[in-house]
Every structure is written in structure tokens, then in C-alpha cells.
């Protein structure tokens, strides 16, 4: 029960007091004061571009010739010379994947 009572003079008086206020240039002043809204799509695009460039550089510098499948039957096969190139490849792949997911889920 929240509607004003139709016959209550106080409610009638209150309703009648709610007079319309003329715009008188108010909307124009508001529009003049509006800030430029941030372009939400720019940041994820920027993130993707930077990550792609970084990944391309990393891929270019990766020691592909040293990328060999480690022989797991030999205990000493897992040395740094074998693992380091793989670590770099995994880092680049993970960074690129993260950037794509972050850009896709971007919400300002």
C-alpha cells in the first residue's frame, strides 16, 4: 500500500506542488560539461597488439634449433640446455593465451 490516497488533501497538495521546471538551457549546459567517454575497445586492442608484437619478437629470438624432444629414459637428459627453449616457448604461448582471454573478457 504505497499509493497516495486520492482523497487526502495533503496528498493532493503534495502532488500539485510538484510543478514542472522548465529546461531553460539546463540540458545544453549538461551536454557542454560531458567528458569524452573512454573508448572501451581501445585498451583490449592495445593489449593484444603489444602482446602480439612481444610474442613475435620472442618467437624470432627463440632458439628453435635447440628445441629437441628430451629423451626421458635417460636421467640426465633433462638439463637446462634442453629445458630452457621449451620454457621460453611455453612462456610465450601462455602470455599470448592470457592476453587473448583478457581482451575477450575486458569490461570497464
Amino acid at each position: 500500500m504505497n499509493q497516495p490516497e486520492e482523497n487526502d488533501p495533503l496528498d493532493v497538495l503534495l502532488r500539485e506542488q510538484n510543478a514542472h521546471i522548465d529546461d531553460n538551457g539546463f540540458a545544453g549546459r549538461v551536454l557542454a560539461a560531458l567528458p569524452q567517454r573512454r573508448r572501451n575497445w581501445l585498451r583490449p586492442i592495445f593489449l593484444l597488439v603489444v602482446t602480439a608484437i612481444g610474442s613475435a619478437l620472442a618467437i624470432h629470438w627463440l632458439p628453435w634449433e635447440n628445441l629437441s624432444v628430451p629423451d626421458l629414459s635417460v636421467p640426465l637428459a633433462l638439463n637446462s640446455q634442453v629445458l630452457l627453449p621449451w620454457l621460453l616457448v611455453l612462456s610465450v604461448t601462455a602470455t599470448l593465451t592470457w592476453a587473448i582471454m583478457a581482451a575477450a573478457q575486458w569490461e570497464d
Binding site: L10, L13, R15, I21, L34
Partner: protein, 179 residues
């Protein structure tokens, strides 16, 4: 052809259409400004500054409007928060429980209207806000509770208590008849 609020909001969000936002401002400037004039106890300049800030904030935050409430309710919420921020800064909340104005005899309709304006000023801000939203702007108690960020029961109590105070302060209101 008249666009709905939802159409205008969609245009603002998709293409930052300032004309569409201007139409929303023109639609709602009167109730928002009138609400703020009441809250600021008749300070029209302060009310206009707050109203302008309300619409600028609405522009900034429009993507957070989910459409679950009426657009006007969402705007009133922003306006009320703006008022509260300024009131805290100016420590005006301490002045809200002003002494009740002296009872005056209203011999005419215009006198009664002036008395009502003065009587509203004398209410506590929570009572005044609830009455202005529910009795003057036609919001439901639920919508007013959303705007004022308080429990539904508090809004109902404030409306009842505020109207009771107004009746006490306006002894001649019963003789009032709509024009």
C-alpha cells in the same frame, strides 16, 4: 516518432550519441532538479549544480545501468548520493533536525502551498526524501528504498512520520481542495 528510454540509452552506449543523451536529460531534468531543490531546502543554485553533476555521472556510468529499475529511479539514486556527499561536506546533515516552524494559519490556497514548502523544509532529510519521492514523484516504496539505499520499512516509516508532521504543521490543509 518518440524513442523509448531504452532506445536512447542503447544509442548512447553504441555510438556515444550526445543528442540521444540530451533527450534523456530533457525528459528527466525537471523531476531530478525538483527533487534536489527539495533536498537542499530550496537552494535552486546548489540543486542545479547537483543535477548537472548527476547527469554527468549518469553519462559516465551509463554502461552500469542494467535496466532492472526504471531509468528515473536510477537517476534519483545518483542525485541522492550527490546530495549526501555535498551535505556531508557542508555538514548540513547536522542542521536537518531544525526546530519545527511556527504553525501558521493559511487563509488561501497559495498561502497553504507556501506553508507546505516551509513545512517540508522543516522535516528531517530522510522523511523529506521519502515524501518527495513517493508522494510527489510517484515512486513506489520499493523504488524509493532503492534510491535511498535503505530498508523498505524505513521508507514506509519515514513517509508516515513525515506526513504526520506535515499534518500537524498545516492545520488548515484539510480545507484544501484541488483546483
Amino acid at each position: 516518432m518518440s524513442f523509448t528510454d531504452a532506445d536512447l540509452i542503447a544509442r548512447v552506449l553504441s555510438s556515444e550519441d550526445q543528442h540521444a543523451f540530451g533527450e534523456l536529460v530533457r525528459r528527466y531534468q525537471s523531476p531530478v532538479r525538483a527533487f534536489l531543490v527539495r533536498l537542499t531546502r530550496g537552494d535552486a543554485h546548489l540543486a542545479d549544480d547537483l543535477a548537472q553533476e548527476t547527469f554527468v555521472k549518469a553519462w559516465r556510468k551509463l554502461q552500469t545501468y542494467r535496466g532492472s529499475a526504471k531509468f528515473s529511479t536510477w537517476l534519483f539514486g545518483i542525485a541522492y548520493n550527490e546530495f549526501r556527499t555535498v551535505a556531508r561536506q557542508r555538514k548540513e546533515l547536522a542542521l536537518e533536525d531544525a526546530d519545527e516552524p511556527a504553525k501558521s494559519a493559511a487563509d488561501s490556497r497559495s498561502d497553504l502551498r507556501l506553508d507546505l514548502t516551509e513545512a517540508l523544509k522543516g522535516l528531517h532529510s530522510s522523511e523529506r526524501s521519502a515524501i518527495v519521492l513517493c508522494c510527489q514523484n510517484g515512486l513506489t516504496h520499493e523504488e524509493a528504498a532503492q534510491v535511498l539505499d535503505c530498508p523498505l520499512g524505513t521508507v514506509k516509516t519515514n513517509v508516515l512520520r513525515g506526513k504526520e508532521k506535515l499534518r500537524r504543521r498545516l492545520p488548515d490543509y484539510q480545507h484544501y481542495e484541488s483546483a
